[in-house]
């Protein structure tokens, strides 16, 4: 429990620090006043608007105010759309989270199944073939996988219509159906990485002394893999999967672009190009929170699966 408490304090400190830094960065660079006024900007008008928006107060007070509002769900007003940022961000956040979680579930299920299949294979030829295929798949970046899947399943097999996003409200089934291939494009590179990891780790474990001990007790290779090597090999794979949840969010930004999914990544990119910094700030802080929380969860999982990590350190 001490372990969790310590990690939790760390987590809170990191969140405060990172959100403060992000806030400062956007305050220094992202001064929107001149842009909002456009051509008719006179020094008086700029000063007046700055006063109105409260840009003249110290950064610390503004940060505290912003953080307080943020916790209450008020993320400010978008410069471009004059809408509350929370109204813009939260529905899209749902879409992105759904996409990421779908990709994550696919990754976990498929990488463990395929990985176990390959590790337990009896035939070296099939094993070799799988390694080669895996090596090729691993080299395809997620965005190209997205394009390939669009081409294959969208244009050739007509399993979905590229570009025609179905919202959850319209049809939940259609929503998840549309997200299936985007999620798969995010999942595939991770799957091949973790399958490879499981395969090579198991191979390494099989060379170790404790496997020789198991053999000296009359165990055969298959049993030694199942009973000893796999347990040891799967620990790093599980922590890799947990951490990859953070990276999947980054892949989402790109994949949403390809499949035209109105998620948080698309909103972020369009807000970046229109220099709508309240929106970007809100999204960045949400993404940062996500990453920090995911890493926290990964840290908490570790002692559960590896008895060597001392919990009360």
């Amino acid at each position: 429990m001490k372990f969790a408490a310590k990690k939790l304090t760390n987590l809170i400190i990191t969140v405060i620090l990172v959100s403060f830094l992000t806030f400062c960065a956007f305050q220094v660079i992202g001064d929107p006043v001149a842009r909002m006024l456009g051509a008719e900007a006179t020094p008086e008008k700029v000063a007046q608007l700055r006063e109105e928006l409260g840009f003249n107060r110290p950064v610390m007070t503004r940060y505290l105010e912003w953080a307080g509002n943020f916790l209450r769900g008020d993320m400010g007003i978008s410069y471009s759309y004059k809408l509350p940022v929370s109204d813009m961000v939260i529905p899209k956040l749902g879409v992105t989270v759904a996409l990421t979680l779908m990709a994550f579930v696919m990754t976990c299920v498929l990488s463990i199944t395929i990985g176990l299949y390959q590790v337990r294979l009896k035939s070296p030829a099939v094993d070799r073939a799988m390694t080669v295929v895996n090596q090729i798949v691993m080299s395809i970046p997620p965005f190209f996988i997205g394009i390939l899947l669009t081409c294959l399943f969208g244009l050739v097999f007509h399993l979905f219509t590229p570009g025609y996003y179905v919202s959850f409200r319209e049809s939940p089934a259609g929503f998840f159906g549309y997200l299936f291939f985007p999620a798969l494009s995010i999942a595939i590179p991770k799957i091949s990485q973790s399958v490879k990891m499981l395969r090579s780790r198991t191979g390494e474990e099989l060379e170790k002394d404790y496997i020789r001990t198991a053999f000296s007790r009359g165990m055969n290779t298959g049993a030694a893999v199942n009973y000893h090597a796999l347990h040891n090999a799967i620990i790093p794979v599980i922590s890799f999967l947990a951490v990859s949840l953070a990276e999947m969010l980054a892949s989402c930004i790109i994949i949403e672009q390809i499949f035209s999914i109105p998620g948080i990544g698309r909103l972020m990119l369009s807000s970046i190009s229109s220099r709508d910094f309240t929106v970007v700030l809100a999204i960045v802080v949400i993404l940062v929170l996500w990453v920090i929380i995911v890493n926290f969860i990964a840290d908490m999982i570790y002692p559960l699966i590896d008895p060597r990590i001392k919990v009360n350190r």
Partner: protein, 274 residues
């Protein structure tokens, strides 16, 4: 060379072959490409592969093969610079942290941990959002983001080597810290750093391609693989899938070559240890 051909390290062999092939193509592309990559042939828009245009033409009637060659060069160069910045700065920081230790080391490694916790592309996007996507900004931003991973590797190596007898000997004989770092320790961790640098290069290519795919890469008038793939995407439906296919293939080859090379080198290094 003969040694490589004879070795049973298939990763290294394939990696050298693919990367070598790409390098040669890039080098040739510096002097000669089938067409000028900017030349627009209005009469031949979105044409399929033919003898005149082996990879076909894009929506402006430009030769895709020439653009792929040039784009590969751009991607390669940009990634190389990114990786170089990360490697050099990371080695410096890692060496200093690992050699000195103490609070300095703790602090630096904390910062590195914090940065590596975030996906590169996401952080780069945020920074570019703040500073704007200038011509070379992407190189600096990604380069800086590549520093922590190198710093970590170099640091852990330094911590290991620092306690070795040969370093203690050098210290006893009065060698200065700089001499110990550069003359004694660095050459010894070269074999660990080389595969790491190759794998880092591979990651740099992926990051560069992702960024330019999102439209925040190097300037638009230079062909770059990521940006071309983004353009090609709009013509998937328009009946020119080969455009995306050839551009994507170039990225895949580049990534595959480098990752195989990196893994091959790693295997070689592990074998050397045994």
């Amino acid at each position: 060379m003969k040694k490589i051909l004879k070795s049973d390290n298939w990763y290294l062999k394939c990696g050298i072959f693919i990367t070598g092939f790409i390098l040669i193509v890039i080098l040739i592309g510096q002097f000669w490409t089938p067409y000028d990559s900017g030349y627009m042939d209005g009469a031949a828009r979105l044409e399929g592969p033919s003898f005149a245009h082996i990879f076909g033409t894009d929506n402006f009637g430009r030769d895709i093969l020439s653009r792929v060659i040039e784009g590969t060069g751009t991607t390669f160069l940009v990634s190389f610079c990114i990786n170089l910045i990360g490697l050099l700065a990371g080695t410096m920081i890692g060496a200093a942290a690992g050699y000195r230790g103490g609070l300095f080391d703790d602090l630096l490694m904390r910062i590195c941990d914090a940065i590596t916790a975030f996906p590169n592309v996401m952080l780069a996007l945020v920074i570019i959002a703040v500073f704007g996507s200038g011509d070379l900004n992407i190189i600096w931003v990604l380069g800086i983001l590549f520093i922590p991973s190198y710093a970590r590797i170099v640091r852990s190596q330094f911590v290991q080597q620092k306690s070795c007898n040969y370093v203690q000997m050098a210290k006893l004989m009065g060698a200065s810290p700089l001499r110990i770092i550069f003359v004694h320790i660095l050459p010894n961790i070269y074999s660990t750093l080389l595969p790491a640098a190759t794998i880092g290069f591979n990651n740099a290519v992926l990051a560069e391609a992702s960024m330019s795919f999102l439209g925040v890469g190097v300037s638009a008038n230079k062909p770059s693989l990521g940006r071309m793939l983004n353009e090609a995407q709009s013509f998937l439906v328009g009946g020119a899938p080969w455009y995306a296919a050839f551009v994507g293939l170039a990225i895949v080859l580049l990534v595959m070559g480098l990752s195989l090379l990196g893994e091959g080198l790693q295997k070689e290094q592990l074998r050397g240890k045994k």
